[in-house]
Symmetry: C2
Amino acid sequence: MITRREQKRENIKDEIKTFARQQMAQEGTAALSLRAIARDMELTVTALYRYFASRDELITALIVDAFASLADALQAAADAPHNGDYIQQARNIFTAYRQWALQHPTDFELIYGNPIPAYDAPREITVPQVIRGFTIMLAALVNAVNSGQAVVRITPPASVLAHLEATIAEANYPVTSAQFYAGVRIWTRLHGAIMLELFQHLPPAIGDVDAYYRHELDAALHELMP
Amino acid sequence: MITRREQKRENIKDEIKTFARQQMAQEGTAALSLRAIARDMELTVTALYRYFASRDELITALIVDAFASLADALQAAADAPHNGDYIQQARNIFTAYRQWALQHPTDFELIYGNPIPAYDAPREITVPQVIRGFTIMLAALVNAVNSGQAVVRITPPASVLAHLEATIAEANYPVTSAQFYAGVRIWTRLHGAIMLELFQHLPPAIGDVDAYYRHELDAALHELMP
DNA sequence: TGTACATCAGTGAACGCGCGTTCACTGATGTAC
DNA sequence: TGTACATCAGTGAACGCGCGTTCACTGATGTAC
């Protein structure tokens, strides 16, 4: 049962995180400051310690939220209508990946950019959301393969294969190692385009980054044509 | 003519940059601090102002150096023996790209990672080294196409094409727009794998990142087979 | 329904530390005659 | 070759600001009888 007090507590925690995100957006992820958040909220710094035991704990919460938010966005894309066309479903999912990055650049930096100095992410806390997200990316691929709409031709190098099997077993991914590998390949490939777009290395040269990404995504999926 | 005094000045400037890089490696790029550098060098902070007018000017120097160092590494790879096999030359160059990133992770973060809060890179100062580096990446590709060892099949989307032509004209890249596009595609694709490797998102899942990158690079170059 | 008590939110001072930049200065090194 | 002078490297104090975390505290809100 959630008391009114607990409800209020959660609301304020959310508010703190909102201000934190706002501040990271302006000053960079590394510059997150409890004192600055307190100032913005018109509270004393010490009041924040009622909600988060330390700056690190707040950062961890923000990272978990970011991975969860990304996974939600991917899930929504997976649930969008695709008329049984699983390649289209995959397209939707990877389009959502970029959309989320563009709409939440700070969160994207937070989880995929430079690590924050003197902060160590506790892996066991973030990992479940990471797995959830990647499972969604893989889902469309598996659907496509199972329905004969896609074929995974490339097999991973032997050294990678062994490690992949361990990863799959540990996280209980419902995929074969070849499917996992194909998913990772599409992911890393598109991820590069997004990173370079986000940090302004691509737009000056390319111009229409939207079209570029669409083209890259199509090329990546084309490799899976039966 | 370079006087002894000027020579000494350059040496100290270099020393400052070395300490700066060392510090960034430990505390993150955003945490670069003049006072900390001075402390390490056993100088007063104000002495540093004889060499760099401000923290921003030092950062700019570090960025230019990083792009130059990357371009040098690419050039060395391009100059390595390849027996007229230009696909091999391209392989060498893109392998060097990753090697440089792994050997200079801080410099890589500095130029391709999160922007430093409150710092704006003066584009006109960094751009020449950026162009030099990318020209080397493209060179092998052009050689391969000209000698019939490679074929660029994919044409860029129309909206991108127009922008590409402007970019090529402006920077005087000695390539066709289709070649430039093919180069950008390989670059963004591999860049993603490197970023995810560097920030520890890939190694836990994949294990042998070396083999993974080699495989990805081969796949990317395979698309150019005649 | 009313009251006593426990729980919790938020305060304010303090600790010990960090930062970039400006300023007037001392003392060493180089240059011109 | 020796000396006067200009140039330059580096100092030290100061300005005005930032940070995370601990501690003893006040006053409001909720709970049990």
